[in-house]
C-alpha cells in the first residue's frame, strides 16, 4: 500500500457545555499520513492545541478497535464517516485526499444532550436497557448450558442482533432521532432465544415506553439507521419488534 501525506481543513463543532451555544471552529492540519486513523489525526491536532495552550477537542473513545461503541463523530454529514460498516475509530485517513475539508459534528438528538464539543450523554440507552433489556436470572440459578439446545439459525440471528455496540449512530442518522434500531436489536437478541420468552411481552412494552420517555422520535422506516450501522444491524429487527409490540398489546399477560 502506498502512503501519502495530506493537508486538510477541519471544521469541528465546539461547544463548552450543555447550556452554551456551539459553533464551528476551523483548523488547518498538515503532515497527515494516509496510514493514520481518523482519531490519530485528531490526536495530532489536540497535541498541537495543548502546546498552544488552547482547549483540545473533547471526544469519546476507548477501545479504538470498533467494539466498545464509545467513538461517535458525525463526519461530512454521515455518522462514523464515509466507510461502510465502520466506526469512527476504524476509519483511516486514506479515505481522504490532500486538500479535503472535513466537517466533524457530534451526534445530534434530543435523547443525546451534548456534554462538550463532540461528547454527548448517551445514558438514555442504559435506562432503556434497565427497563427490560435483560433476562431475570440470579447468579447460581442456571441449569447446565447444554440442557437447553437452541436451533442454530435462531442462535446465529440472535448473535447478529447482539452485535450492536450501542454507539447511537442509528439515532444520529435518523431524521426523527428514533432509537428503534438499537432497541429492536435487544428485542431480537433476547426474543430469539428460549431463555428470553417468559419476559418477552413485558420487555417490549416497557422498553418502548422508556424510549418514548427519553425523547427519541418514532420510526418511519427510512432505513437511514441500517445504512450507517457499523455492525450492520438489520432493519428487519424493527419489524420483529413491532410484531412483538402488537402481540404484547393483545395478550392479557403483559
Amino acid at each position: 500500500m502506498d502512503h501519502y501525506e495530506m493537508k486538510l481543513t477541519l471544521k469541528v463543532w465546539r461547544q463548552a457545555n450543555n447550556k452554551s451555544k456551539g459553533r464551528f471552529e476551523t483548523f488547518q492540519v498538515d503532515g497527515i499520513s494516509s496510514e493514520m486513523s481518523f482519531l490519530e489525526m485528531i490526536d495530532i491536532l489536540n497535541e498541537r492545541l495543548v502546546v498552544e495552550g488552547q482547549d483540545p477537542i473533547a471526544f469519546d473513545h476507548d477501545c479504538r478497535e470498533g467494539i466498545c461503541g464509545s467513538c461517535a463523530m458525525h463526519i461530512n454529514g454521515r455518522p462514523h464517516g464515509p466507510w461502510h460498516a465502520t466506526t469512527t475509530c476504524q476509519l483511516h485517513m486514506r479515505a481522504f485526499k490532500d486538500g479535503d475539508t472535513i466537517v466533524v459534528e457530534p451526534w445530534r438528538a434530543n435523547g443525546f444532550p451534548i456534554i462538550k464539543d463532540l461528547v454527548t450523554d448517551r445514558s438514555a440507552f442504559d435506562r432503556i436497557i434497565q427497563a427490560g433489556g435483560f433476562i431475570s436470572v440470579n447468579t447460581g440459578n442456571a441449569v447446565d448450558g447444554n440442557a437447553l439446545p437452541i436451533n442454530k439459525d435462531n442462535a446465529d440471528a440472535s448473535f447478529a442482533a447482539a452485535a450492536c455496540i450501542s454507539c447511537g449512530a442509528c439515532v444520529a442518522a435518523c431524521k426523527n432521532a428514533s432509537a428503534s434500531l438499537f432497541l429492536s436489536a435487544k428485542i431480537s437478541h433476547l426474543g430469539l432465544l428460549p431463555q428470553g420468552q417468559p419476559e418477552r411481552h413485558k420487555r417490549v412494552i416497557s422498553m418502548v415506553a422508556q424510549m418514548d420517555k427519553e425523547g427519541f422520535g418514532s420510526c418511519t422506516f427510512t432505513g437511514a439507521c441500517e445504512a450507517v450501522c457499523p455492525k450492520e444491524i438489520a432493519i428487519t429487527n424493527i419489524s420483529r419488534m413491532h410484531k412483538d409490540y402488537l402481540a404484547a398489546g393483545l395478550s392479557a399477560d403483559n
Binding site: M1, E35, M36, V50, P56, S123, F134, I135, T139, A142
Partner: protein
Amino acid sequence: MLDAKIPAGSLEKKWSDYKNHVKLVNPANKRKLEIIIVGTGLAGASAAAALGELGYKVKAFCFQDSPRRAHSIAAQGGINAAKNYQNDGDSVFRLFYDTIKGGDYRSREGNVHRLAEVSSAIIDQCVAQGVPFAREYGGLLSNRSFGGTQVQRTFYAAGQTGQQLLVGAYQALERQIALGNVKMYTRHEMLELVQVDGKARGIIAKDLVTGELERHFGHAVLLCSGGYGNVFYLSTNAMGSNTTAIWKAHKKGAFFGNPCFTQIHPTCIPVTGEHQSKLTLMSESLRNDGRIWVPKNLNEERKPFDIPEDERDYYLERRYPAFGNLVPRDVASRAAKERCDLGYGVGTSKQAVYLDYAAAIKRYGEIEASKRNLGNVDAETITKMGKEVVKEKYGNLFDMYEKITGENPYVVPMRIYPAVHYTMGGLWVDYELMTTIPGLYALGECNFSDHGANRLGASALMQGLADGYFVIPYTVGNYLADEIRVANIPTSHPAFEEAEKAVRERIEKFMSINGKQTVESMHKRLGKIMWDKCGMARNAQGLREAIEEIRQLKKEFWSDIKVTGVINDFNPELDKAGRIADFIELGELMCMDALQREESCGGHFREEFQTGEGEADRRDDQFMYVAAWEHVSGGWQLHKEDLVYDVVKPSQRSYK
C-alpha cells in the same frame, strides 16, 4: 508473615470446605451493608450484579459513559471452561494443571484449582442470561482450541466473546440498578482510597463531567479496574485502561504482586509510525492455520510472494518442530524479536514478520476440490475455494487487518509483531481476594492471582467472571459478617476530609505547573523506556538504566507538564495527567521487580538467564515465590510469599 489463607485439606476439597464453613450475613443485615465497586468490566459488573442480587447495597463506578464499554468488551477469542462437552478428556484437574504449567509454576495451586472448579458454572450462568455462544447444528454449544492445551474447552461467540459476556453481565447489572440494589456512577474516576482505623471504608471519586470531587462510604471496597498494560504506552488495551485505582490503594498499603509479569502477545498489527496511538490484536486463533516466517537474506528487497520457499525461514517450525507455529505466546514473541533484532524483519520499519495464509488457502482449496469431486482443477480455482474457507473461519479478522493497513491479507501475507497485551501482576490478594488492607479486595485483571508468569489464552475472561459471580459473593460475606455493627461512617469524618484534600491538592498541582511538555509526550517517553528495557527481554544493566531514566522523567513530569482547561469541567487532559503520573511510578516498580527476579520464567525473560539454546532458565531453588511489594516512605520493600506445590511437580517447559 504474608498469609495467603489457603484452606487446609486436599486440593479438590478446599473450596467446598471453605464454602461450608464461611461466615454468613443474614438478609436483614445485608441491606444495611454498603459495598463500593470500582470498575464494571467483567469482574466488576459480575460482582455488582451478584452482590446486588444478594441484597447488599452496592455503589459501582466506571470512567466510561456506560458499563458496557469497559475494556473487557474487546476480548475476541473465547473463554475456557472444564465442561468436557467434547468428551476429549478434559476435567477440572486438567484445566487446573494446564493453567499452572502455562503460568510457568508461579501461581498458587489453591486459587487455580478453585478457578477450574467454578469455570463450568460460568458457562451455565452466561447461557441463562442469553449470551449467544456459538452453537453446532444440533443446537448444542460449540468449542474451539487455544494455545497451551490439548483439549477443546474454549467457548466463544465469533470474534466477539468479550462483548457478549460483558453485555450479559451488564444486563444483569442494569437489572439490579432498576431494582434499586445497585447505584451506578458512570463517568466517575476513583482517585483515592479512604481508610478508617486501617480498614478500607470508602473512596474519593471525581465526576468527570463536572470535575467535582465526591466522597463515598462503603463497609468494603472492591477494586475491579483492569490491567495496566498501558504503562508501555502502546498496547492492545483500550486507551483509558490505567493503574490509578490500584496504585492509590498500593500507596495506602496494599501490596503489589509480581508487577513485572507482563504478557506480550505475538500477533498484533505492527507500529506504522510516531502517530500510533494503540495496537490491535490479531487473535491467537490465526496461528492455527497461518505460517510465520522472515526472509533468510538480510536486506531482502523482494515482495514476499516473490521470495522462493527455500529462501524463507519458518523460524518457529525450525526451532520448535513439535509445536511449530502454536508455541505459547511468550515463546513466539521472543522468537520474532530475535529475528528482527538480527535484521531479518520485514516492512518499512523492519519490526515485523510475515503471517502467511498462502499455504492454508492452497490446502483448504484442495480439500474443497476433493470434497466436491472436482477432479483436476487449475490453481486459480483452488485458490478461490481456499479463500472462501479461510474467509468463513477468519473473515472478520482479515477485514479488520485490511481496514487498518489497507492491504489485502488474502493476497499479501500479514505483517505482525508482538505487543503488550495483559498484565499478570496486580494487587496481591489472598485466597479470599482480599488485599493486605482489610476490607479492600481486588478482582479480575487488576489482581495478581491466577496466571503466574504467563496467562493462557481464554483464561482472563474466565477469571474475571469467576471472581465476580462465584468467589466474591462468598468471601466478602466472611468479612462483612463481623462488620454488621458498624454504622455508616459519615463522609464528614476526618479520614474523608484528608483524602479529599490530598486529591484536590494534587489536581491543583497539575494545573499550576504550566510547563512546556504535554502529558501525552511524557507517556510516550515512559512507554519507550519500558518497552526497550523492561519489555520482551530484560537485563540487569538495562533495568538499572530504566530506573534512573524513569526517576528523571518523573522529575520532569512534575516540573514541566502543561495541562490546559480548568478543574471544574469535562477535562480529559487533566484526567490523563493523573493517570500518567501513576504509570510513571508503577514503571519504576516494575523495573525493580524485574531486576530482583534473577531468573527467566513465562513472560519474564532475563537475558542473563537462558539455556544454551536461548530458552528461559527458571530457577526454582531461589525464585519460587510471589514478589509482593510494600510501598514505604522513599521506596519499596520486598516481601516473599513462597509457592508450595503439593500436587503438581514443576518441570522445565519444552516445546521442541
